[in-house]
Structure formats: C-alpha cells, structure tokens
Amino acid sequence: MAQVLTIDPVTRIEGHARIKIHLDEQGRVSDARVAISALRGFEQFVVGRPAEEIPRIVSRICGICPWMHHLAAVKAIDGCFGVTPTPAGHRLRELCQVMAHIHDKILHFFFLAAPDFVLGPDSDFSVRNIMGMVRQDPELAARVVRMRQLGQVMLDRFAGKSIHPVAGVVGGFAKPMSAEERSDLQRDGATLLDFASFALDYAKERVFHRYREEMQSLGAITTGFLGTIDDQGGLQLYDGRLRLMHASGTTVDFPAADYAQHLSEQVEPWSSAKMVYAKSWQEGFSLDPAAPKGVYRVNTLARLNVCDHIGTPRAQAELEDFRAQFGRPAQGTLLYHWARLIELIYACERTQELLADDRITDPHIRNTATPQAGRGIGCVEAPRGTLIHEYATDDNGCITSANLIVGTTHNIAPMNLSVRQAAASLIHDGVYDEAILNRVEMAVRAYDP
C-alpha cells in the first residue's frame, strides 16, 4: 500500500523543517518534500513605518541572524536615502558581520552537524547529540562552548547586545572603535583564529575522511550556485557583486541591485514558502529530479564555488586543497560542512585583517542622511546564504514597499531535490529504519535551513 513517511520536525532543526517521503505501492520513493516554516507578513507589516526603524525592527523579528538582517536592511535604507556610508562605517559594519559569522559557524558545525559525524549516523538518536559529544570528548566540547561564547562576547562588548543590534545606522555606524577595544578584539580574535584552524584540521583528520563516499553521494544533486565576490573575484561576505554560476561552470556577475533581472520568485502550489530560480538561464523552473531547471544553491558551498580565490592566506590554502579534491563547482551536498569550516577560518582571518588596519579607529563613522523618497537594495552573505532586502520610501522617508529574499528561500528548491535523491537512494522495497531516516535528515542539515 502506498504510504507517506513524515520526519517531523527534522531533528535539531526544531520547528523549522518537516520532511515527507511518499512511497508507492511497491515501496519505492515516488516523491519527497521538505517544508520550511517561512516568515510571512513582514513585508506588509513594515509599510508606512519610518525607514530608519527597519534595521532595528528586523533584527528583533529575525533574531536567529540579527546582524545579517540588520545590515542588509541598513544598506538598503542607505540606498533609499541616497547616502554613501563613510569608509570607517563600512569597515565597522563588516567587522560585526564577520564576527557574527564566527559564532554561527561554531554553533552549526559542532552542535548541530558534528554529532552525525563524530558519533556516526547509525548511532542511537538518544546519544547522537551534543551530550553524546560531551561524553565522547569532554575537553573538545568544553573548548567549543568557550570559543562560541568568546565570539559572541567580542561582538557584545564592542557593539552592544548582539541579538538586537542597533549599531548599524543609515549612513554608517553608531560608534567609533577605541584603541583599547581594538587591542582587546585583536587578542580574542587571535584565539578564535587558532581555534578555527584546529577545527578544520580536526574535521579533516578525525571526521570527514571516514565519510568520504557519503560526503559526495548523500543528497547529491547537480545545480548552479550564487554568491558574492569583490572586483577581483575574491570571496566577500559584506559587500560586492553577485555571481551566478551555472552547473556547467559558466558565470555571470551583476550588481545586487539587478537581482530581479536574474532571479525570479514563485510560490509552488504545495508549499507555503516562495522559491527562487535563475530566470536569466532562460530554462524556466522545474524540480523534476531527472532534469531540474533553474535551480541554484547558496550558502557556504556556493560561496566557495563562485569565488576565484579567498583574500586571506589560511582560507586560500584550504580552498586550494578543497578544489584539488572536489573540483569546481563541487556538488556534494555534505561538502557544505567542509566549506563552512573554511569560511570559519576566513571570517576569523578577516576579523584580524580589519582590526590590523589603522583606519578601523577612524572617528568619521557616519555621513548625514536625510529621509527622502527613493529605492534601495541591500545585500549581504548570511550564514544561510545571500540575503536581499529591498525597500522603497516616500517623501517622508516612510516605507511604501518591501521585498525580502532570505538565504533559506534560495535553498528550498535544492533542499527538496537533495531530500528526494537521498530518500530514493536509501529506501528500497519500503524498507527503512531510523538510521536511513537520519541520513535523509543529514541531507537537509547540510544546508542549515
């Protein structure tokens, strides 16, 4: 008899995702879908509000990644009011953003992903969690907790409570950095960079090589990629041009403000969440697993695939090693984890690079902005992918329209393809067990929805 298996909610992605696997009468996977609870209503809710309030409001509502939304919104409002932030304003914003990336990556890799790898995907659910990790390696677990807290404390100390950032302001940044703050951050940043290097070495030596085959096969699909680069094609998280890479490796670069010429949004009848596809490939949009169309991915693996190089030395060396092993573009879904740890190194190195530059203490942090009618698009690379905020304002500087594309929205289509691929390759004749279902979940966890 045909049946539907529901994995609800996806373990450790509590409240966010639900997987349904449809089996036909022969027990073969006929379909599999992942549903993500999406935020609805924000775009209507902000209409009529003063634009300069939006960066503070959005960081309260989207409090999982408050800094990313805060900065995408403030960049968009810069555009509405026609103001260019000062160089110091941009540097301080970027510093806060890369520091926010650091603790997100430590959380994701060690707390959410590592139990699958360190304890093994077949281990019992009751131990396959952070407590199982603690029992296996208490020293490592204690160090991870210390490092993640250090990342957060650094951000709090300089910019205020990081769950509700208010430090980004239209035209720049709210406070300059003192010499003392700078040297404190440099000291703690060095500790985090050491830990980041240790984390990737640990993962490569102790974890990834044991799952070499699965890293490339589980949930594997072939798609394009989207990420942000600088003028020389280097990896960027805070600002730059977008690069859309086709699965064949061909690329097109464009300013984030032109996103609507290249990407199109659509709501599938079976999903409450909107999906985005690469309109400029002119092949339409299809989630047919045999021949998907218009599907691209964002987030760590995508950023490493689209960039030509990384501007910091340790991360660049790791990128070269990664490419030598997996090619470009690398398609293996679990490689998102490996890419995440390379980005952790980049974020730590970039923190140190920004702090090493004397201009970080430049007191000219803000240009004056006057509320006016306009339109602005702000884009940053968030932990979960390319984050786009677009607003229009009236003569009083109040919002007249808003559109957001968040990281996970880009990845919903490929997540569906990966879940279907994983389920179809693991479930035969209607036979499945907890270890199989966990592997299906791992295909979703790689994307970190």
Partner: protein, 92 residues
C-alpha cells in the same frame, strides 16, 4: 526565514556537573512546553525571563520587557496578515 519567537523560562533543572549534568531550562510559549539546552546562551536565565531558541538551544536570554516588545511586533505582523486573510498555516 526563521522567526525568533521568545519562550519564557518556567524552570531551571540539572546543574549537578557543568559538563555531564548541565543546567537545562524548561520553557513555555502558547501552551507548548519543552526542555532546551543552555550551553550556547550568553548566561543562565532566571525563571520568568525569556530565551530565543535555535535548533533546541537557547542562543540568547531576553528580559521580560525585551521579549514583550518582540512579541508585540510579531503580533502586529500576524494582525496584518489576518486582515488580508493570509495568515500562514503550519507547513504541510
């Protein structure tokens, strides 16, 4: 997009050993109760305070005042959707 819905701490449990029996919080919102881990929070919250949860971990503590403000923003959002007849359903 993930809503950061604050949940109120109703009880703090455990704490016999910082590593092997860490403190956990029992939290509640809208009739849903669950136990969540505190390793990733900025501090151990007091009973009555709120936490923002990501993937089973409290990632940040909030005072009641902060949480009430955030919840009021979310209620306003829901009201806008309700007026337009577009209140989101649970994912299918």
């Amino acid at each position: 997009m993930c809503l950061a819905i604050p949940m109120q701490v109703v009880e703090i449990k455990g704490g016999g050993d910082p590593l092997f029996d860490p403190q956990v919080a029992l939290v509640e919102n809208d009739g849903i109760r669950k136990e969540i881990r505190l390793e990733m929070a900025d501090r151990v919250p007091a009973v009555g305070e709120y936490v923002i949860i990501h993937a089973g971990f409290a990632i940040r503590t909030l005072t009641e005042e902060e949480a009430e403000y955030n919840l009021s923003l979310m209620r306003q959002m829901a009201t806008v959707l309700e007026e337009q007849g577009r209140l989101p359903e649970a994912p299918e």
